[in-house]
């Protein structure tokens, strides 16, 4: 027995493993840091960085500090930055490869902070383009452009615009000129008065024939002359017909050309006149892009989180995994029913403190689980703030309920009261800058996603609002009317409604401000439009009337050709008369 045991080997084994254990404890922080960074990066799709980790073994716990989560759409910014995350772990659950955390503390969360370097995973686009793209997507633009609220004068419009009626006139002028040349050329080749008179001389000469032979010869020649006259008359008749057809066509086109100025006036009026209907969508123009941006951002992160819940739910115990060929050397992990089932990842409660420019927001997230079908409880969160600088009360509540994956129901409720707004740029259009000088906003938004159907209803109420724009003297009547109308509304309410799916939402926005603005500007818009139409008519007719008259005269000139041909026909017919 003594020969079988090698005590030196046993001691060497113990020493080697003790050294390895100490070495592991020393470098464990680095491993954890790397693991957190790579897992986070994989989930977010952009770099997740950690400044430091603090792994303690007795008791087992972990602290993560300086976490930066890159915004994948704008890699030069962090979607969130977290000062400190701390939690303790149950080692027995870790042996089962499950991360079970009873209490987690997350402090110093900030959103949309700057990064020192880009957190993009792939090669970044040039900074300018990247910024433009990001601004476009995240909508960092400071305001929106409203439709034009002043009417340019008629001269400016006509300098800028090409008139279709003038082009039509020019085309008709050219066509008449060409037709006139063609017809005159044709008439020139027809038998004229002289030729017809010549026929008369020939016919008169036949009377001088004497004797039987002379008379018989005269009859034959007379027949020949009449045939010649008839042939010429046919040519003249045909030419006359052509002239008349041409005149009729040109007269028809002249009528169309005479209508063209009216069409131009209508087109320019439509383009440049102020539409009260367009201004009726003022709130959608102002509010729509910003609201769509918030929804877009929220749904983006929702889509990032959702697969984490769905993935776990799909990998259920008691169900053998699908027999797909595993990667070489990896095999398949078969799951069995657990006596005390626990999800792979579970946080019973996370206390979170968020830092904003307005102050601190505190709250908690409960029951964060990788598989809610095991815990049977949805992930819920609740945040409150009552001491923010410009917001009297803010409450954000919600839940991700995937306890029954077939009927998943996720909801978010945001309620804020007395948000003080000052100097908010509504429109930065040079034509009509609009600034909300001050106002108080209350908002309530309820969003649910049930079985893939998105339903979000919001109500925003702005009270005690005053607006300003350009100096009063330089404002157009309509601009003044809008500014006054908005300031006079005691409470501007905006109702939003989003329906559809998270991938394809459709939004409707309505507001009491729309009808107020529409009514305020309707009368002024009508008057300004009528004045514009009158000026346009004067200027356009001044340009076209003379030319249209000339065209009429030119066509009348063609009718003269027809009359001339009629005379020749009469002359020829007289020759043939018995």
């Amino acid at each position: 027995m003594k020969q079988m045991i090698r005590w030196k080997g046993f001691i060497a084994f113990i020493v080697v493993f003790a050294v390895l254990a100490v070495f592991f404890m020393l470098i464990a922080d680095g491993f954890v840091k790397k693991a957190v960074e790579s897992t986070g990066t994989r989930i977010v799709g952009a770099r997740v960085d950690l400044a430091d980790t603090d792994l303690t073994f007795f008791p087992l716990g972990l602290g993560l500090s300086g976490m930066q989560i890159t915004n994948p759409d704008e890699p030069i910014k962090n979607a969130a930055e977290i000062q400190q995350i701390r939690f303790s772990l149950n080692p027995w659950h870790l042996i089962e490869k499950k991360v079970i955390i009873n209490e987690m503390t997350i402090t110093g969360v900030r959103f949309n902070t700057d990064r020192r370097e880009s957190g993009a995973l792939t090669k970044e686009a040039p900074p300018e383009k990247s910024r433009e793209k990001a601004e476009k997507k995240s909508g960092q633009a400071k305001g929106v452009s409203l439709p034009s609220l002043s009417v340019p004068d008629a001269r400016t419009i006509l300098e800028r615009e090409e008139l279709q009626c003038v082009k039509e006139i020019e085309r008709l002028e050219a066509d008449i000129k060409q037709k006139e040349q063609e017809l005159r050329e044709m008439v020139r080749n027809l038998p004229d008065e002289e030729k017809l008179e010549n026929y008369r001389s020939r016919l008169n000469g036949l009377d001088d024939e004497k004797g039987v032979m002379g008379i018989l010869g005269g009859i034959t020649r007379a027949k020949k002359v009449k045939e010649d006259i008839q042939a010429d008359l046919d040519r003249i008749r045909q030419a006359k017909q052509e002239v008349e057809t041409t005149v009729q066509t040109l007269e028809k086109r002249l009528k169309e050309v005479a209508q063209a100025p009216q069409q131009d006036i209508a087109r320019l009026k439509e383009k440049y006149a102020i539409s009260p209907k367009g201004l009726g969508n003022l709130t959608r123009l102002v509010f729509g892009p910003a609201y769509a941006r918030w929804m877009d951002r929220g749904l983006y992160w929702y889509e990032k989180i959702k697969p984490l819940l769905a993935k776990a739910a799909s990998a259920k115990a008691d169900q053998p995994p699908e027999e797909v060929p595993p990667a070489r050397g990896e095999g398949v992990n078969v799951r069995f029913k657990e006596h005390s089932p626990r999800p792979d990842f579970f946080v019973q409660q996370a206390d979170v403190s968020v830092l904003t420019d307005q102050g601190g927001i505190t709250g908690s997230v409960k029951d964060i689980a990788s598989d809610q079908t095991i815990t049977g409880r949805p992930t819920t969160w609740s945040f409150d703030a009552t001491s923010l600088k410009d917001i009297k009360m803010l409450a954000i509540k919600g839940a991700l309920d995937h306890t029954n994956p077939a009927a998943a129901k996720d909801r978010l409720h945001v309620d804020a009261n007395h948000i003080r707004l000052e100097n908010v740029t509504i429109s930065e259009s040079a034509d009509f800058p609009l600034v909300l000088d001050k106002g108080r906003l209350d908002l309530k938004v309820d969003t649910t996603i049930r079985g893939g159907d998105l339903r979000s209803d919001g109500r925003f109420a702005l009270t005690a609002a005053t607006f300003s724009g350009k100096p009063e003297a330089s404002m157009s009547p309509i601009q003044s009317a809008i500014t006054r109308a908005l300031s006079d509304i005691p409470e501007i309410t905006v109702d939003t409604s989003v329906r559809g799916t998270p991938e394809n939402p459709s939004m409707t926005i309505s507001s009491n401000a729309d009808s107020v603005v529409r009514n305020a500007v309707a009368g002024i818009a009508r008057r300004e439009t009528a004045a514009l139409e009158k000026k346009l008519r004067q200027k356009i007719t001044a340009r076209t009337d003379g030319r249209i008259n000339n065209l009429t005269e030119s066509i009348n000139g063609l009718e003269k050709i027809s009359r001339e041909l009629s005379q020749r026909l009469d002359q020829g017919n007289a020759l043939l008369a018995p």
Partner: protein, 172 residues
């Protein structure tokens, strides 16, 4: 290569007990065929160090079995998966799955299960066969080889000089 052959020859020709060599090869089979980072390899390694097992046989065989394991991975996966999803064994696996130590051992991995079962089944037969083969080698082949003219010729060759050098080095 020559050194490796010399090591094997030295190991076989030395006065080491055949069971020590066989045991080394059998333990190497478990470590080589199953995934390296498995919990069960820890007691295997402890036994290799604690018992008077021939370490040269263990190390050389470990490398050899690791190469074989790569080729047999698909077979181990199929066998392991069949065993883990076999209805009559479901109760056993479920019980083991609920014991943290077994969960940590990762027995529910198809390749780990397949390769471990194969190596455990082959352990005793391989041990006995190897014991017999080493004895047979020493009694018959080695004795016969030593008497041949080729052996006498080779005695002066580089192979033998390396062998001798190693033997002497090992003794000193």
């Amino acid at each position: 290569m020559i050194t490796l052959i010399a090591k094997i020859l030295k190991m076989l020709n030395a006065e080491t007990a055949p069971s020590q060599i066989s045991l080394g090869i059998c333990f190497a089979m478990i470590m080589g065929l199953t995934p390296l980072w498995s919990l069960h390899n820890l007691p295997v390694l402890l036994l290799v160090m604690l018992l008077r097992v021939n370490l040269s046989a263990f190390i050389v065989s470990w490398g050899l079995f690791s190469c074989i394991a790569y080729l047999l991975d698909p077979v181990f996966h199929t066998l392991g998966y069949k065993l883990l999803t076999l209805a009559p064994l479901n109760g056993l696996w479920t019980s083991l799955y609920n014991i943290p130590l077994f969960r940590l051992a990762g027995f529910n991995n198809s390749i780990r299960m397949g390769s471990l079962v194969v190596s455990v089944i082959l352990f005793i037969p391989l041990f006995l066969v190897l014991n017999m083969l080493i004895r047979q080698y020493r009694e018959r082949i080695l004795a016969w080889v030593k008497k041949t003219k080729l052996a006498e010729t080779l005695n002066a060759s580089r192979l033998i000089s390396v062998y001798k050098a190693l033997t002497e080095g090992g003794r000193s």
